[in-house]
Amino acid sequence: MASSSDKLDRRQFVGNGVRIAGAIGLGGFVGFLAGRRGSADDTVWQIDPNKCIACGNCATYCVLDESAAKCVHSYPMCGYCELCTGYFEPDPNDLNSGAENQLCPTGAIVRKFVEEPYHEYSIDEALCIGCAKCVKGCNAFGNGSLYMQVRHDRCLNCNECAIAVACPSQAFVRVPASNPYLLKHKGTGA
């Protein structure tokens, strides 16, 4: 009987050793990871507007039914054009807000007269589906003041952003959570 309890004791001893070694190893690894990250900020996903080619994937690849990536407007960069190529279809029938003239499939852009000949274009974010059609139009013939951004009040901050996987221009980058937008500014183009 003594031998069997000896055996148990030995098993217990070896087991404890393995567990403690495992715990120390795990602790060391956590220390290494913590050291690697240092005091850096956690990150969130954002679109680098200089890389984005307005392909339209943002609208369809987000895990949310209504994409977290939407169009925003840099007003100081905007030419306030009467014929906005982000707002109007190519060759519009008329320069008015008739749905058949608009590029935006959901009518999310609001066109407001300011003074002759200037018009202000703002985004009704609740309607925007992030298709980037307007961004493409504005980049092609306008000032590039319309651009795509991940809206953080909507974004779930997926471990790996599903749009990032599908983005052909690798425009999705991880940015510090405390400074989560990559805004375009007048003059810099970004």
Binding site: G15, N16, V18, R19, G22, A23, L26, F29, L33, A34, R37, D41, D42, T43, V44, N50, K51, I53, Y61, V63, L64, V72, H73, S74, Y75, M77, C78, G79, Y80, V114, E115, E120, S122, F141, G142, N143, G144, R151, H152, D153, C155, L156, N157, C158, N159, E160, A162, V165, P168, S169, R174, A177, P180, Y181, L183, K186, G187, T188, G189, A190
Partner: protein
């Protein structure tokens, strides 16, 4: 040089039409709404720690299946539906791998906690995380209605998949090719009630299978479960089926829907023992061969595999386009040309990536060989068991088997009058 090219392109893009100077019109501000309050991160970590303590207590201390089911429900609501499946202990494997190989990546604190705490607890108490804290485990635990038994050999063979999946996930994360565990997470669409069609279909299939086959993801896919299995083997305190002594009544034999209960061993005849020993010898000899073959295969397959990485894919495409072997361009190659970077830079990068793939692919192949070899060795080793006991690698500490044990019934009945007396 690159910077100059980019800013020149950007400068071209702006001010085709000079922005007007309004005197009496205020320009609107571009809004920048913030995300979740960062303090929630600490709450998540605290909730995880509390969940692990409670789960271990319910499984080992109270031996309360009800407690575990309640906690699993809370976990499913909190980590699943409320946090929408991110942050996740399984996915954390990838962040951690990426952090090891890419120093520029910041691994979030929550991710470190979700990676390390469950492993630590499993090392000492078995897979109590799986029992009641993992939201994926919880979904499967709560949707199992009519368990059917899976034949042992199917169980053992499919049980190899998680190890292979683990190796592949680490490879893809470490090379920066992507987070495949997140891309193929079957239940996240259910938590978010949205997602792409293929993944929703996969999720629904697994949910339906899970009505009859207990925890299909945990047993045959979960890469973290593979690590848990190894850690749990050495856990000092693991759930037991009987509260005290096993009387070998065999009532619990079929109680486990996850095929984790192992019967006591019967003594072997010397002839059987000799045969077993010979078998073990063969398997031990086979294992290194498998490792070598696996390494070779992995190394060879790594080149086609590297096409998973978009940088490599883009380089291939660019080369074909430059050589005039394909017509036209694609979005990705257009975008690359727009950046003004020389193609040579891309090619050098792709070659470096391919080398990394070859190295890690060899490792992955060797790992798969090792896993198969170790499985064969493991199946050839007999360990003496005196009672019906859960296999710590497979048991998820769900507590279903407790009530099958007559000793447990006995203790419950004994506890009843005292409870009544104390007015509960």
């Amino acid at each position: 040089m690159m910077v100059v090219a980019v800013s020149a392109a950007a400068a071209l893009a702006v001010e085709r039409f000079p922005p007007p100077d309004f005197t009496d019109h205020q320009l609107p501000q571009t809004t920048t709404p913030h995300g979740r309050w960062l303090g929630w991160e600490y709450f998540d970590m605290a909730a995880l720690a509390a969940g692990l303590v409670l789960a271990s207590y319910f499984a080992l201390g109270r031996r309360s299946r009800k407690g575990l089911v309640g906690l699993a429900t809370v976990a499913m609501v909190w980590l699943g539906f409320w946090r929408q499946g991110c942050v996740c202990a399984i996915g954390a494997i990838q962040n951690v791998s990426l952090a090891v190989f890419d120093p520029s990546y910041t691994v979030p604190l929550t991710v470190i906690a979700f990676f390390a705490l469950p492993l630590l607890v499993t090392l000492f108490f078995g897979r109590t995380f799986c029992a009641a804290v993992c939201p994926l485990g919880a979904v499967q635990e709560l949707t199992l209605v009519r368990p059917v038994r899976v034949p042992g050999w199917v169980d053992q063979s499919l049980g190899l998949v998680p190890f292979i999946y683990l190796g592949a996930a680490v490879l893809f994360a470490a090379t920066g090719a992507g987070f495949i565990i997140c891309q193929y997470d079957p239940y996240v669409g259910f938590f978010r009630l949205s997602g792409n069609a293929a993944m929703i279909t996969f999720g629904i299939c697994l949910l339906v299978i899970g009505l009859f086959i207990g925890r299909p993801y945990c047993r045959y896919l979960c890469p973290l479960g593979a690590i848990f299995g190894l850690f749990s083997r050495v856990s000092g305190r693991h759930v037991r089926i009987p509260p005290d002594e096993c009387i070998q009544c065999r009532l619990c034999e079929d109680a486990c829907p996850y095929g984790a209960i192992r019967p006591p061993t019967v003594p072997q005849t010397p002839a059987e023992r000799a045969r077993g020993r010979r078998r073990l010898g063969w398997m031990l000899a086979l294992a290194p061969v498998l490792v070598v073959v696996g390494t070779g295969l992995g190394y060879t397959l790594a080149t086609p595999l590297s096409l998973v990485h978009r940088e490599v894919r883009l380089a291939e495409r660019m080369k074909l386009e430059e050589a005039g072997k394909v017509e036209g361009t694609i979005d990705a190659s257009d975008a690359f040309r727009n950046t003004g970077r020389p193609a040579r830079e891309l090619y050098t990068e792709a070659i470096a990536l391919r080398e990394r793939f070859a190295f890690l692919g060899g490792l992955l192949g060797g790992w798969v060989g090792l896993v198969i070899g170790m499985k064969l060795v493991h199946l050839s080793i007999r360990r003496k068991r005196d009672e019906y006991s859960p296999d710590p690698a497979w048991c998820v500490s769900c507590g279903r088997c407790f009530e099958y044990c007559p000793s447990e019934q006995q203790t419950l009945i004994q506890e009843l009058p005292t409870l009544e007396k104390s007015g509960v």
